[in-house]
Symmetry: C2
Subunit: 212 residues, 2 copies
């Protein structure tokens, strides 16, 4: 297929497809002459994945590029998912040194109590989590961090479900792509369900309270 069809199939404008080619997000088509190329169904699928990662996942294109490179790399599924997680997390926001130290300690205790592996502070997932916990403290919302153990228990249950969803697949390539999609979309889907549930529970708990 050629440019126009690729664009139509994927729903991405021609100019944007060219931009993605320039940026290396989309591999070049197979050349049929020095200045013509042909694209495949794989290109359509990749464009759809890029759209999902940017539109639904909210990732910047630079992160999308890194995620795609990780998918195309030849690491094990487990290691690839680790790389993808680092990209999803993005750079952690800055917080005050004291709050960060407090949050690190809190997290480390939590990990130790539950017999989990220690994670290096350079891990972006950890750095983001620490920043979020530190911010909660700085804003005086200790209640949130007091219940961390209970949140962790539920997060573990969710993660077990996530892995079940991915683990049934046979091909390694499919596992990796499914893992990426499950991680990115899974975050959004779970957040949406949680918000709906909050609305339901809050209607019962707070519904009758007067305006502030």
């Amino acid at each position: 297929m050629r440019m126009a069809e690729l664009s139509a199939e994927s729903g991405v404008p021609v100019a944007t497809v060219k931009y993605y080619l320039r940026e290396g997000l989309l591999p070049p088509g197979e050349r049929t002459s020095p200045n013509q190329a042909r694209y495949s169904a794989a290109h359509v699928q990749r464009l759809r994945l890029i759209k999902a990662l940017t539109d639904v996942g909210g990732l910047p294109l630079a992160s999308v590029g890194a995620v795609l490179a990780a998918i195309d790399g030849d690491e094990t599924p487990h290691r690839t998912m680790g790389l993808v997680q680092q990209e999803l997390a993005g750079p952690a926001p800055e917080v005050s040194a004291e709050a960060a130290q407090w949050a690190s300690g809190l997290l480390e205790d939590l990990m130790r109590r539950n017999g989990w592996k220690r994670y290096p502070a350079e891990n972006r997932t950890v750095a983001n989590l620490v920043a979020a916990l530190a911010t909660a403290k700085e804003l005086g919302q200790e209640k949130l961090t007091d219940r961390l153990e209970e949140y962790l228990e539920l997060a573990l249950r969710v993660a077990e479900l996530d892995i079940e969803v991915v683990d049934g697949l046979t091909s390694v390539d499919r596992i990796i792509e499914a893992g990426v999609i499950a991680t990115v979309l899974g975050d959004r889907i779970f957040a949406g369900l949680r918000h709906l549930a909050q609305e339901k529970v809050s209607r019962q708990a707070l519904g009758g309270r007067p305006p502030g």
Copy 2:
């Protein structure tokens, strides 16, 4: 306190504070003369909240403005949280009409089976959730949507915990602010915990798989 101190206390540069004042994100200080003003601890707190919403929550300033307006409004806590959720969700990405319809049906069935209220499609939380489910289908990840019921059960448990965290507070203002913070930071914190848990579970389940 005056500008320099406000800036130092909050960690936000003077030029940025002025910008937030222009944009109406920060209320003007109390004038002490036609062209001088004094700021209070409330201004510091508000700046910290803005920082948390943008840096940790990843919200655009326009949404931050809407959230702050909702906080300052005089709706009930429940309604205010509804407004905040709408802002957090942001505009839903576009998906194909077929996939969207399929996803809407899936969600509606789920809600009905569990005896939940029906939500209007204009609700941004719902629209985003539908878009995410539709995208999962378009990418061929039906496994994710097959387990929606189980995710919903866990999301409900998380939401119950969220409300417990907020509900112990006495003042209505505090409930609203705590709710906002719990919603925004809570999403990040839970996502972080989920990622750590995924790493742990995936090490056991996928750790031994060969590279792709």
